[in-house]
């Protein structure tokens, strides 16, 4: 695997991982989706 592909896959994996972790944390801690709050 070329250096570019290695770095690309590492960083993309990291990005997807961070988003997934935040999504899970968001679901746990920020549960209420109140549309049209006001």
């Amino acid at each position: 695997m070329s250096l570019f592909m290695k770095l690309f896959l590492e960083c993309t994996g990291l990005i997807i991982g961070i988003v997934a972790v935040f999504q899970i944390l968001g679901k746990i801690f920020i549960k209420d989706i109140q549309e049209d709050f006001e």
Binding site: S2, F4, F8, C11, T12, I18, G26
Partner: protein, 494 residues
């Protein structure tokens, strides 16, 4: 010159085409709408997921992603990607928290949110600081526009003239239809940008002498393995990565430009879904510029490429490599993509400035100003701020340092918004935290104060973060105040 003509043609066709289409569409819709609403800055809050996603991504993808990461990769290698990854955490915070809050409260500017929490006086102070921070970022984007045009014309056009040309195109990006125009041009730019980056990456793999293997071999054989490791040398991740995550997330997470697209989203679910578009579009861009930076350095160090001015090698090696190893049409494509990225940030910052002035300053003098009048003021401010930024950009510091300094100012606003929404609304506590944080930023920047206390190595964002959390928690615990905005609402509805 051929490259410049191609790039300019692309910008004129994409921006002009979208503007014409939106103007025609608006004319048809005008008869059906009794009133315009705040359509210019929030697009009547009707933007779909894809547009919100790319607009959030491009709003915070500008000069630093293009030039800053290439420059940083020269000095520290692959660890420079953490500047880009810091923006992924920022977009997570915007899409799952702050962006949803501003959309839920239907505000059009950040000071409107602050006014709901802490009253008008604190909101006016926050407006001034937000406007200053937004203008500083705008000036840096204008500086980057000048550099792009200077590169495109091989020094024929000066950086100052390039900044002026770029500003005029940037104003066109936003002036006609506001947020809706920015959103649709962003979508086109994102597609063109990523296609260009993919084609360039494939082409570069074949064009580099010895391919990527030679780049890897160079760093391994010279004992610089850290250059191709995203965690870098020992300590680099904590010194660079973590500080960037703190500075970017807690500043841009509450900035006008960072939240403008979320305010215009159709609903909260749109913002949550947009995260899956915004985060990859923003984060992956940095991988390309980082790899360009480390490849360029290996070519210079191994003597296979020469840069015109060795003292400026960190800044110019990436662009020089692209010019040397890619065909003209692909260089034009790539620079058009870079230009699009910088222009999108320029557009949203000028609009943010216009919105801050029209909604939070102009209305102090004319509280009953109609939406049409406010839109006119926003348009005037877009033109004025764009042109004034041209003048300011001529005397700016290094882009990355400047950006981090600007971010430090917004950290106390972020934390006080969190306190005000979920814990306690205490204007006195917010005012003291703002004042102490901002005085410390000035002392840190312009006086020997940090050196006198042996703290000169501590970056400014850490200082404002510490003050916002420590002083903010103590003052809110001690001083009286009303319950947090959401807390109060919840207890009322229960």
């Amino acid at each position: 010159m051929v490259i410049l003509v191609i790039v300019l043609l692309y910008e004129i066709v994409s921006i002009g085409g979208v503007s014409l289409y939106l103007v025609q569409k608006e004319r048809k819709q005008k008869k059906q709408q009794a009133e315009g609403g705040d359509s210019f800055i929030t697009s009547n809050r009707d933007l779909p997921t894809a547009i919100v996603g790319v607009s959030l991504a491009l709003a915070v993808l500008g000069a630093v992603h293009v030039f800053g990461i290439m420059e940083m990769a020269w000095g520290m290698g692959a660890v420079s990607i953490w500047f880009s990854i810091a923006h992924v955490t920022l977009l997570c915070v915007v899409c799952l928290a702050t962006g949803r809050w501003v959309r839920r409260l239907k505000v059009s500017t950040v000071p409107e949110l602050i006014e709901k929490l802490f009253g008008k006086k604190i909101a006016i102070v926050a407006t001034c600081v937000l406007a200053g921070q937004t203008f500083a970022i705008l000036s840096m984007e204008v500086q980057a526009l000048g550099i792009i045009f200077n590169t495109l014309t091989f020094n024929s056009v000066s950086i100052q003239m390039g900044a002026l040309i770029g500003s005029i195109i940037g104003i066109a990006y936003v002036i006609i239809a506001g947020m809706k125009e920015v959103g649709w041009v962003n979508l086109i730019n994102t597609i063109v940008m990523y296609l260009g980056l993919i084609v360039a990456a494939v082409f570069l793999s074949g064009a580099l002498p010895g391919g990527w293997q030679a780049v890897e071999n160079h760093y391994v054989s010279t004992g610089q393995e850290f250059m191709i490791n995203i965690f870098g040398a020992p300590g680099m991740f904590f010194a660079f990565g973590v500080s960037n995550i703190i500075a970017v997330t807690f500043a841009q997470g509450i900035s006008q430009m960072g939240l403008q697209s979320a305010m215009a989203a159709r609903n909260e679910k749109t913002i949550i879904r947009a995260l899956w578009i915004a985060a990859p579009v923003n984060g992956i861009f940095g991988i390309f510029t980082m790899t360009i930076g480390i490849a360029a350095k290996s070519l210079v160090e191994s003597g296979q490429m020469v840069v015109a001015n060795p003292e400026l090698a960190a800044k110019t090696a990436g662009a020089t490599m692209l010019m040397n190893y890619l065909p003209t049409w692909l260089v034009a494509w790539l620079l058009a993509a870079f230009l699009g990225a910088v222009l999108s940030t320029f557009a949203i910052t000028t609009m943010g400035l216009g919105a801050l002035f029209a909604r939070n300053i102009y209305t102090l003098k004319k509280p009953n100003a109609s939406e049409a009048e406010q839109t006119k003021v926003i348009r005037i401010m877009i033109v004025l701020s764009g042109l004034v930024a041209c003048v300011a950009s001529a005397s700016l510091p290094e882009i990355v340092n400047g950006a981090v300094w600007c971010f430090a100012w917004l950290c106390p606003i972020f934390w006080n918004v969190v306190y005000g929404l979920f814990w306690k609304r205490c204007p006195k506590a917010a005012g003291i935290v703002f004042a102490v944080s901002w005085i410390l930023v000035l002392l840190w920047t312009y006086t020997p104060f940090p050196a006198a206390f042996g703290l000169s190595g501590i970056p400014v964002p850490y200082v404002t973060l510490a003050v916002s959390i420590v002083l903010g928690v103590i003052l809110n615990a001690v001083l009286p105040g009303e319950p947090g905005y959401f807390k109060e609402r919840r207890s009322v509805s229960a």
